[in-house]
Amino acid sequence: MSSPLLEVEDLHVHFPVGRGRDRQLVRAVDGVSLTLQPGETLGLVGESGCGKTTSGLALLRLVEPTSGRVVFDGTDVRSLSKRDLRSWRRRAAMIFQDPYASLDPRLPVGESIGEALDIHGLHQGKQARRDRIGDLLERCGLHPRVADRYPHEFSGGQRQRIGIARAIACEPDFIVCDEPIAALDVSIQAQVMNLLTELQQDLGLAYLFIAHDLAAVQHVCDRIAVMYLGRIVEEAERLDLYRAPQPPYTQALLSAIPIPDPVRERERERIRLEGDVPSPIDPPSGCRFRTRCRAVFDACERIDPALQEVADDHRAACLLHGEVGTEVTG
């Protein structure tokens, strides 16, 4: 295998809440490790509040990580100076979830895209800049002439296309897609997905594709990592994960995907998760999923499971595969 484009090791993001005596830590991301090959799509899936978006923001340093290592193409991203970080950003972009919030309402959309070019001194000169913005819009399925319009004149799907055009403006190698289709109409989701896939093929992009359910990522990802409460609980090739999900949490997530066949859909066994995600301020001891797990047994409380190889290129953090992990003390 070639050298990975992105390597994330033991990433932690903790936010302090409260003051003085009541000061507590929200462990939004609590030890996440990922690798991403050039041109690959890695899905990062989990419920709301599991830290998937924060992970995406932290590895781009849009939120400062508390600890851990982020290595991008040989560069240690966390050690970059403010200035170097800004020029590094040319290589790693982000697409945001809410297309209604991610464009400045006071700027014509062409300017929002052009900003990326201005920052990195690309395509300078009035005509060259205009042409490039037009190309980018066209590349994303919009007419070049719409560059002078304001965001409120576009639909959600069109805005997301503009957001994508902005993200690819500087020809990055890597894009964090933070639920790019979750806020869109179902009829438009497929179009935007197809656009992302096309761009990946043409430009050789690597995606970290964040989603809150496995249905959204099943067709686009090469590999999938499942997150729960700040940790990765399973990581595997896409087909392996769908065929043989290991931890009960992944099984529950998979069983939530409806089958587009009424007969089979009726017979489908659904695993309903009881209760809410526990607070990341005070996560359960041992396995974090044990409070909602249907296969829970006594060791789950004692041992904090580590990711272990359960099959070829398939890792899971679950004690059902052997009690590997750190013993909880106290």
């Binding site: 800004r86 020029s87 040319r90 972009a93 209604y100 400045d104 006071r106 929002s112 007419h143 304001y150």
Partner: protein, 307 residues
């Protein structure tokens, strides 16, 4: 927001015409509002007569004819004459010069200083924010006129110091308003998006934060102009603002007060009316701007086709 169901072809459709620049949209929305339009006309007339006071005014403001003192409005003196036989109309016109100048300069000071403080405070946060905002709170805790009097008293009364005093007094209003808007704008996704492209703080502030906090600031400016003119009138009335013989509306009211018992109503009515009209016009324009600058509100107004 509802998303119309559409096919991919529609996504490709080109707009029929390029959209209007924002300021023109704002201006046309403003002019459609009749009250605001009336306010703008009044303001325009006031500004013109202030600028061309030498041509418009029938007499010089110092031209006294002691024989014709305290003359009621008539053919030679439309607004009558004061206790020194000076033409009240001319003094009201020249007074506009002082009032508008004080208003513009004073609000200009507080607009610039206040916006700067608000931007730094809101964007940086932390101890800088705490220090700046507590300072503003102290300024804010004094009644406006009292603080202005104190500042003028320290600096000695003059036109320049009146403007400085009013500028200082109005600074916290801008600082606080701007800070509040900055606090919400800096958390917007589009700010994060800009940062993700590698934008510097300076670029984010100048390209994204400032334009997005501008609307309330512009509205505040027009309302503050009205208050500044009132404050100037109050200070002049108290005798520590503009110094005679320069005519200022507040000062004219002060002089007129003593002659109310003698029945010289014109001496107080006309400068009072001038203050009233100016403040009213500024308020109407301010209200109109508030509506015109809010894109959502504007589309509601446009779709209803009213005002």
């Amino acid at each position: 927001m509802t998303e119309p169901t559409h096919d991919p072809a529609e996504e490709l459709q080109a707009p029929d015409e390029p959209s209007e620049p924002r300021w023109r949209e704002t201006l046309s929305a403003l002019l459609k509002n009749r009250l605001a339009a009336a306010g703008m006309i009044v303001l325009a007339l006031l500004i013109l007569s202030a600028v061309f006071a030498d041509l418009v005014a029938p007499y010089a403001y110092t031209d006294g004819d002691i024989v014709r003192r305290l003359e009621p409005p008539g053919r030679d003196h439309w607004f009558g004459t004061d206790e020194l036989g000076r033409d009240v109309l001319s003094r009201v016109i020249f007074g506009a010069r002082v009032s508008l100048q004080v208003g513009a300069v004073a609000v200009g000071i507080s607009l610039m200083v206040g916006t700067l403080i608000g931007l730094i405070s809101g964007y940086r946060g932390g101890w800088i924010d705490a220090v700046l905002m507590r300072t503003m709170d102290v300024l804010f805790s004094f009644p406006v006129v009292l603080l202005a009097i104190a500042i003028v008293a320290v600096l000695t009364p003059s036109l320049r110091n009146t403007m400085i005093a009013i500028g200082v007094v109005f600074t916290p209003i801008f600082a606080r308003g701007v800070r509040g808007s900055v606090l919400s704008v800096r958390e917007e996704v589009y700010v994060r998006a800009s940062r993700s492209l590698g934008a510097s703080d300076w670029r984010i502030i100048s390209r994204h934060v400032l334009p997005n906090v501008a609307a309330p600031v512009i509205v505040q400016t027009s309302l503050s102009l009205a208050f500044a003119i009132l404050t100037e009138a109050a200070l002049s009335y108290l005798g520590i603002g503009v110094q005679p013989p320069r005519p200022a509306w507040g000062l004219m009211l002060l002089d007129a007060q003593g002659f109310i018992p003698t029945g010289a109503w014109w001496m107080s009515l006309f400068p009072g009316l001038a203050i009233f009209l100016t403040v009213m016009a500024l308020n109407l324009v301010g209200d109109g701007l508030r509506d015109a600058l809010d894109p959502k509100q504007r589309s509601i107004i446009q779709s209803r086709g009213v005002t």
